[in-house]
Symmetry: C2
Subunit: 190 residues, 2 copies
Protein backbone atom coordinates (compact mmCIF):
# COMPACT_ATOMS: atom_id res chain seq x y z
CA UNK A 1 0.00 0.00 0.00
CA UNK A 2 1.96 2.99 -1.27
CA UNK A 3 -0.77 5.61 -1.60
CA UNK A 4 -3.90 5.21 0.49
CA UNK A 5 -7.37 5.88 -0.86
CA UNK A 6 -7.62 8.76 1.57
CA UNK A 7 -4.57 10.41 0.01
CA UNK A 8 -5.73 9.75 -3.53
CA UNK A 9 -8.94 11.58 -2.69
CA UNK A 10 -6.97 14.49 -1.25
CA UNK A 11 -4.84 14.69 -4.41
CA UNK A 12 -7.98 14.64 -6.52
CA UNK A 13 -9.47 17.40 -4.38
CA UNK A 14 -6.35 19.55 -4.80
CA UNK A 15 -6.55 19.11 -8.56
CA UNK A 16 -10.24 19.94 -8.74
CA UNK A 17 -10.28 22.84 -6.25
CA UNK A 18 -7.27 24.49 -7.91
CA UNK A 19 -8.79 24.10 -11.37
CA UNK A 20 -12.38 25.14 -10.77
CA UNK A 21 -12.59 26.56 -7.26
CA UNK A 22 -14.23 25.01 -4.21
CA UNK A 23 -17.89 25.81 -4.94
CA UNK A 24 -17.71 24.86 -8.59
CA UNK A 25 -16.16 21.49 -7.74
CA UNK A 26 -18.57 18.61 -7.19
CA UNK A 27 -17.96 15.65 -4.93
CA UNK A 28 -18.63 13.45 -7.98
CA UNK A 29 -15.74 15.19 -9.77
CA UNK A 30 -13.37 14.52 -6.88
CA UNK A 31 -14.47 10.88 -6.68
CA UNK A 32 -14.02 10.23 -10.40
CA UNK A 33 -10.57 11.89 -10.47
CA UNK A 34 -9.62 9.45 -7.70
CA UNK A 35 -11.15 6.56 -9.68
CA UNK A 36 -13.92 5.88 -7.19
CA UNK A 37 -17.66 6.15 -6.83
CA UNK A 38 -19.18 9.31 -5.32
CA UNK A 39 -19.98 7.51 -2.07
CA UNK A 40 -16.34 6.49 -1.52
CA UNK A 41 -15.48 10.09 -0.66
CA UNK A 42 -17.54 9.79 2.51
CA UNK A 43 -15.86 6.57 3.60
CA UNK A 44 -12.60 8.49 4.06
CA UNK A 45 -13.66 12.08 4.67
CA UNK A 46 -16.49 13.74 6.57
CA UNK A 47 -17.58 16.28 4.00
CA UNK A 48 -16.47 18.31 1.02
CA UNK A 49 -15.50 21.15 3.36
CA UNK A 50 -13.37 18.86 5.51
CA UNK A 51 -11.46 17.89 2.38
CA UNK A 52 -10.79 21.59 1.80
CA UNK A 53 -9.78 22.12 5.42
CA UNK A 54 -7.29 19.24 5.33
CA UNK A 55 -5.70 20.57 2.14
CA UNK A 56 -5.71 24.18 3.32
CA UNK A 57 -4.26 23.37 6.74
CA UNK A 58 -1.43 21.27 5.30
CA UNK A 59 -0.69 23.98 2.73
CA UNK A 60 -0.61 26.79 5.29
CA UNK A 61 1.65 24.81 7.59
CA UNK A 62 4.01 23.96 4.72
CA UNK A 63 4.24 27.64 3.76
CA UNK A 64 4.96 28.60 7.37
CA UNK A 65 7.66 25.94 7.60
CA UNK A 66 9.30 27.19 4.41
CA UNK A 67 9.51 30.73 5.72
CA UNK A 68 10.80 29.61 9.13
CA UNK A 69 13.47 27.40 7.63
CA UNK A 70 14.59 30.25 5.38
CA UNK A 71 14.74 32.58 8.38
CA UNK A 72 16.93 30.09 10.23
CA UNK A 73 19.27 29.59 7.27
CA UNK A 74 20.92 33.01 7.35
CA UNK A 75 22.25 35.15 10.20
CA UNK A 76 22.82 38.45 8.43
CA UNK A 77 19.49 40.38 8.27
CA UNK A 78 19.53 41.32 4.58
CA UNK A 79 20.57 37.84 3.45
CA UNK A 80 17.91 36.41 5.76
CA UNK A 81 15.16 38.60 4.28
CA UNK A 82 16.31 37.69 0.78
CA UNK A 83 16.18 33.98 1.64
CA UNK A 84 12.72 34.28 3.17
CA UNK A 85 11.19 36.13 0.23
CA UNK A 86 13.01 33.89 -2.26
CA UNK A 87 11.85 30.64 -0.68
CA UNK A 88 8.32 31.87 -0.02
CA UNK A 89 7.88 32.89 -3.67
CA UNK A 90 9.54 29.71 -4.93
CA UNK A 91 7.20 27.62 -2.78
CA UNK A 92 4.11 29.39 -4.15
CA UNK A 93 5.28 29.01 -7.75
CA UNK A 94 6.27 25.37 -7.32
CA UNK A 95 3.11 24.49 -5.43
CA UNK A 96 0.77 26.81 -7.28
CA UNK A 97 -2.20 24.45 -7.13
CA UNK A 98 -2.12 24.06 -3.37
CA UNK A 99 -1.18 27.74 -3.12
CA UNK A 100 -4.32 28.80 -4.93
CA UNK A 101 -6.46 26.76 -2.58
CA UNK A 102 -4.63 28.16 0.44
CA UNK A 103 -5.04 31.76 -0.67
CA UNK A 104 -8.31 31.86 -2.57
CA UNK A 105 -10.56 29.36 -0.79
CA UNK A 106 -10.03 30.70 2.72
CA UNK A 107 -13.56 32.13 2.76
CA UNK A 108 -15.14 28.76 1.93
CA UNK A 109 -14.03 27.26 5.25
CA UNK A 110 -16.39 26.98 8.22
CA UNK A 111 -15.98 29.61 10.94
CA UNK A 112 -14.07 27.25 13.26
CA UNK A 113 -11.74 26.03 10.54
CA UNK A 114 -11.14 29.56 9.27
CA UNK A 115 -10.23 30.74 12.75
CA UNK A 116 -7.73 27.91 13.18
CA UNK A 117 -6.03 28.69 9.89
CA UNK A 118 -6.03 32.43 10.54
CA UNK A 119 -3.52 31.75 13.31
CA UNK A 120 -1.06 30.23 10.85
CA UNK A 121 -1.45 33.29 8.66
CA UNK A 122 -0.71 35.58 11.58
CA UNK A 123 2.43 33.54 12.33
CA UNK A 124 3.65 33.94 8.74
CA UNK A 125 3.11 37.69 8.90
CA UNK A 126 4.86 37.87 12.27
CA UNK A 127 7.97 36.08 10.93
CA UNK A 128 8.24 38.64 8.14
CA UNK A 129 7.87 41.53 10.56
CA UNK A 130 10.55 40.01 12.81
CA UNK A 131 12.97 39.86 9.89
CA UNK A 132 12.44 43.55 9.09
CA UNK A 133 12.76 44.56 12.74
CA UNK A 134 16.10 42.74 13.00
CA UNK A 135 17.41 44.53 9.92
CA UNK A 136 16.35 47.94 11.18
CA UNK A 137 17.85 47.25 14.62
CA UNK A 138 21.14 46.24 13.01
CA UNK A 139 21.11 49.45 11.01
CA UNK A 140 21.23 47.67 7.64
CA UNK A 141 17.59 48.31 6.69
CA UNK A 142 15.48 51.43 6.39
CA UNK A 143 11.75 50.79 6.59
CA UNK A 144 8.99 53.38 6.85
CA UNK A 145 5.83 51.39 7.61
CA UNK A 146 7.04 48.08 9.06
CA UNK A 147 3.82 46.02 9.12
CA UNK A 148 2.83 47.51 5.77
CA UNK A 149 6.16 46.59 4.19
CA UNK A 150 5.97 43.05 5.63
CA UNK A 151 2.53 42.66 4.10
CA UNK A 152 3.72 44.05 0.76
CA UNK A 153 6.56 41.52 0.65
CA UNK A 154 4.10 38.70 1.22
CA UNK A 155 1.86 40.20 -1.47
CA UNK A 156 4.55 39.71 -4.09
CA UNK A 157 4.74 35.98 -3.38
CA UNK A 158 1.03 35.45 -3.00
CA UNK A 159 -0.13 37.46 -6.00
CA UNK A 160 2.04 35.36 -8.29
CA UNK A 161 -0.65 32.69 -7.90
CA UNK A 162 -3.00 34.89 -9.91
CA UNK A 163 -0.84 34.91 -13.04
CA UNK A 164 1.83 32.20 -12.71
CA UNK A 165 1.77 29.28 -15.13
CA UNK A 166 4.06 26.24 -14.73
CA UNK A 167 4.25 26.05 -18.52
CA UNK A 168 5.15 29.74 -18.93
CA UNK A 169 8.52 31.23 -19.75
CA UNK A 170 9.54 32.09 -16.19
CA UNK A 171 10.70 29.39 -13.79
CA UNK A 172 9.87 29.51 -10.07
CA UNK A 173 13.56 30.36 -9.50
CA UNK A 174 13.43 33.36 -11.88
CA UNK A 175 10.46 34.81 -10.06
CA UNK A 176 11.91 34.03 -6.64
CA UNK A 177 15.16 35.80 -7.51
CA UNK A 178 13.28 38.88 -8.76
CA UNK A 179 11.21 39.08 -5.60
CA UNK A 180 14.27 38.67 -3.38
CA UNK A 181 15.94 41.52 -5.27
CA UNK A 182 12.86 43.75 -4.91
CA UNK A 183 12.77 42.97 -1.17
CA UNK A 184 16.32 44.28 -0.80
CA UNK A 185 15.48 47.41 -2.80
CA UNK A 186 12.37 48.07 -0.68
CA UNK A 187 14.32 47.93 2.57
CA UNK A 188 17.88 49.07 1.93
CA UNK A 189 19.37 52.24 3.35
CA UNK A 190 19.49 54.84 0.65
Amino acid sequence: MTVTARERLLDAAVEAFAEKGFTATTTRDIASRAGMSPAAVYVHHDSKESLLFTVSRAGHLAALEVIEEAAASEAEPTARLQAMVREFSAWHATNSRVGRIVQYEFAALTDEHRAEIAEVRRAIEARMQDALRDGVAAGVMDVGDLPGTARALLSLSIDLLRWFSPTGAQSPQDIAALHADLAVRMTRVH
Copy 2:
Protein backbone atom coordinates in the same frame (compact mmCIF):
# COMPACT_ATOMS: atom_id res chain seq x y z
CA MET B 1 -36.74 57.32 -12.65
CA THR B 2 -33.38 57.80 -10.97
CA VAL B 3 -32.03 54.26 -10.83
CA THR B 4 -33.28 51.76 -13.40
CA ALA B 5 -34.18 48.18 -12.53
CA ARG B 6 -31.28 47.08 -14.71
CA GLU B 7 -28.83 49.06 -12.57
CA ARG B 8 -30.38 47.88 -9.32
CA LEU B 9 -29.79 44.31 -10.47
CA LEU B 10 -26.17 45.12 -11.34
CA ASP B 11 -25.64 46.67 -7.90
CA ALA B 12 -27.18 43.60 -6.30
CA ALA B 13 -24.91 41.36 -8.38
CA VAL B 14 -21.82 43.33 -7.29
CA GLU B 15 -22.82 42.94 -3.66
CA ALA B 16 -23.50 39.22 -3.97
CA PHE B 17 -20.52 38.29 -6.17
CA ALA B 18 -18.09 40.22 -3.92
CA GLU B 19 -19.50 38.63 -0.79
CA LYS B 20 -19.86 34.99 -1.82
CA GLY B 21 -18.14 34.60 -5.18
CA PHE B 22 -19.74 34.04 -8.57
CA THR B 23 -20.47 30.30 -8.34
CA ALA B 24 -21.80 30.47 -4.80
CA THR B 25 -24.17 33.30 -5.71
CA THR B 26 -27.66 32.29 -6.87
CA THR B 27 -29.83 34.25 -9.27
CA ARG B 28 -32.50 34.16 -6.57
CA ASP B 29 -30.08 35.94 -4.24
CA ILE B 30 -29.40 38.68 -6.77
CA ALA B 31 -33.10 39.11 -7.45
CA SER B 32 -34.05 39.37 -3.80
CA ARG B 33 -31.25 41.86 -3.05
CA ALA B 34 -32.72 43.99 -5.83
CA GLY B 35 -36.23 43.51 -4.38
CA MET B 36 -37.53 41.51 -7.31
CA SER B 37 -38.67 38.02 -8.22
CA PRO B 38 -36.13 35.56 -9.68
CA ALA B 39 -37.64 35.88 -13.14
CA ALA B 40 -37.11 39.66 -13.21
CA VAL B 41 -33.37 39.14 -13.58
CA TYR B 42 -33.98 37.70 -17.04
CA VAL B 43 -36.13 40.62 -18.16
CA HIS B 44 -33.08 42.90 -17.94
CA HIS B 45 -30.10 40.57 -18.37
CA ASP B 46 -29.37 37.54 -20.53
CA SER B 47 -27.83 35.26 -17.93
CA LYS B 48 -25.96 35.18 -14.62
CA GLU B 49 -22.67 35.19 -16.54
CA SER B 50 -23.65 38.26 -18.56
CA LEU B 51 -24.25 40.06 -15.27
CA LEU B 52 -20.70 39.15 -14.28
CA PHE B 53 -19.32 40.22 -17.64
CA THR B 54 -21.02 43.62 -17.44
CA VAL B 55 -19.65 44.24 -13.94
CA SER B 56 -16.18 42.92 -14.78
CA ARG B 57 -15.87 44.90 -18.00
CA ALA B 58 -16.90 48.16 -16.37
CA GLY B 59 -14.52 47.52 -13.48
CA HIS B 60 -11.55 46.72 -15.71
CA LEU B 61 -12.17 49.82 -17.84
CA ALA B 62 -12.46 52.01 -14.75
CA ALA B 63 -9.15 50.67 -13.44
CA LEU B 64 -7.46 51.29 -16.79
CA GLU B 65 -8.83 54.83 -16.87
CA VAL B 66 -7.52 55.53 -13.37
CA ILE B 67 -4.02 54.44 -14.29
CA GLU B 68 -4.04 56.38 -17.57
CA GLU B 69 -5.26 59.56 -15.90
CA ALA B 70 -2.56 59.21 -13.26
CA ALA B 71 0.06 58.72 -15.97
CA ALA B 72 -1.11 61.90 -17.71
CA SER B 73 -1.10 63.93 -14.51
CA GLU B 74 2.66 64.08 -14.01
CA ALA B 75 5.54 64.72 -16.42
CA GLU B 76 8.52 63.75 -14.27
CA PRO B 77 9.00 59.93 -14.42
CA THR B 78 9.33 59.23 -10.69
CA ALA B 79 6.40 61.46 -9.77
CA ARG B 80 4.41 59.83 -12.55
CA LEU B 81 5.13 56.30 -11.30
CA GLN B 82 4.22 57.36 -7.78
CA ALA B 83 0.93 58.81 -8.99
CA MET B 84 0.10 55.68 -10.98
CA VAL B 85 0.76 53.27 -8.12
CA ARG B 86 -0.93 55.56 -5.61
CA GLU B 87 -4.12 55.96 -7.65
CA PHE B 88 -4.26 52.30 -8.70
CA SER B 89 -4.01 51.15 -5.08
CA ALA B 90 -6.47 53.81 -3.90
CA TRP B 91 -8.97 52.70 -6.55
CA HIS B 92 -8.74 49.06 -5.49
CA ALA B 93 -9.14 49.92 -1.81
CA THR B 94 -12.02 52.32 -2.43
CA ASN B 95 -13.76 49.96 -4.85
CA SER B 96 -12.80 46.73 -3.15
CA ARG B 97 -16.08 44.95 -3.94
CA VAL B 98 -15.87 45.57 -7.67
CA GLY B 99 -12.12 44.99 -7.45
CA ARG B 100 -12.60 41.53 -6.02
CA ILE B 101 -14.96 40.61 -8.84
CA VAL B 102 -12.53 42.03 -11.41
CA GLN B 103 -9.56 40.10 -10.05
CA TYR B 104 -10.99 36.89 -8.65
CA GLU B 105 -13.89 36.02 -10.96
CA PHE B 106 -11.94 36.33 -14.22
CA ALA B 107 -11.98 32.53 -14.67
CA ALA B 108 -15.77 32.35 -14.39
CA LEU B 109 -16.25 34.31 -17.64
CA THR B 110 -16.99 32.57 -20.93
CA ASP B 111 -14.04 32.17 -23.30
CA GLU B 112 -15.13 35.07 -25.52
CA HIS B 113 -15.75 37.42 -22.62
CA ARG B 114 -12.48 36.42 -20.95
CA ALA B 115 -10.55 37.13 -24.14
CA GLU B 116 -12.13 40.58 -24.44
CA ILE B 117 -11.22 41.50 -20.88
CA ALA B 118 -7.72 40.07 -21.17
CA GLU B 119 -6.97 42.90 -23.59
CA VAL B 120 -7.77 45.51 -20.96
CA ARG B 121 -5.45 43.71 -18.56
CA ARG B 122 -2.66 43.77 -21.11
CA ALA B 123 -3.20 47.50 -21.57
CA ILE B 124 -2.89 48.11 -17.83
CA GLU B 125 0.35 46.13 -17.70
CA ALA B 126 1.68 47.99 -20.75
CA ARG B 127 1.03 51.40 -19.14
CA MET B 128 3.06 50.36 -16.10
CA GLN B 129 5.92 49.09 -18.28
CA ASP B 130 5.89 52.37 -20.25
CA ALA B 131 6.26 54.34 -17.02
CA LEU B 132 9.30 52.31 -15.97
CA ARG B 133 10.89 52.55 -19.42
CA ASP B 134 10.55 56.34 -19.35
CA GLY B 135 12.24 56.53 -15.99
CA VAL B 136 15.11 54.31 -17.04
CA ALA B 137 15.57 56.29 -20.27
CA ALA B 138 15.66 59.54 -18.30
CA GLY B 139 18.30 58.04 -16.01
CA VAL B 140 16.23 58.52 -12.85
CA MET B 141 15.30 54.88 -12.40
CA ASP B 142 17.27 51.67 -12.11
CA VAL B 143 15.27 48.54 -12.92
CA GLY B 144 16.62 45.02 -13.34
CA ASP B 145 13.71 43.02 -14.73
CA LEU B 146 11.38 45.58 -16.29
CA PRO B 147 8.27 43.47 -17.03
CA GLY B 148 8.76 41.64 -13.73
CA THR B 149 8.95 44.88 -11.77
CA ALA B 150 5.88 46.26 -13.54
CA ARG B 151 3.97 43.14 -12.59
CA ALA B 152 5.21 43.34 -8.99
CA LEU B 153 3.98 46.93 -8.71
CA LEU B 154 0.54 45.88 -9.90
CA SER B 155 0.66 42.97 -7.44
CA LEU B 156 0.88 45.36 -4.51
CA SER B 157 -2.36 47.09 -5.53
CA ILE B 158 -4.20 43.96 -6.50
CA ASP B 159 -3.25 41.81 -3.53
CA LEU B 160 -4.69 44.40 -1.18
CA LEU B 161 -8.09 43.04 -2.18
CA ARG B 162 -7.25 39.83 -0.35
CA TRP B 163 -6.88 41.49 3.05
CA PHE B 164 -8.28 45.03 2.87
CA SER B 165 -11.32 45.89 4.96
CA PRO B 166 -13.17 49.22 4.60
CA THR B 167 -13.79 49.13 8.35
CA GLY B 168 -10.14 48.41 9.23
CA ALA B 169 -7.61 50.83 10.67
CA GLN B 170 -5.93 51.78 7.40
CA SER B 171 -7.60 54.14 4.95
CA PRO B 172 -7.28 53.70 1.19
CA GLN B 173 -5.02 56.76 1.24
CA ASP B 174 -2.67 55.25 3.85
CA ILE B 175 -2.21 52.13 1.76
CA ALA B 176 -1.88 54.09 -1.47
CA ALA B 177 0.85 56.27 0.03
CA LEU B 178 2.77 53.21 1.28
CA HIS B 179 2.62 51.54 -2.12
CA ALA B 180 3.74 54.71 -3.90
CA ASP B 181 6.71 54.91 -1.52
CA LEU B 182 7.61 51.26 -2.11
CA ALA B 183 7.42 51.85 -5.87
CA VAL B 184 10.01 54.59 -5.60
CA ARG B 185 12.25 52.38 -3.44
CA MET B 186 11.98 49.50 -5.91
CA THR B 187 13.06 51.64 -8.86
CA ARG B 188 15.37 54.35 -7.58
CA VAL B 189 19.04 54.61 -8.48
CA HIS B 190 21.11 53.43 -5.54
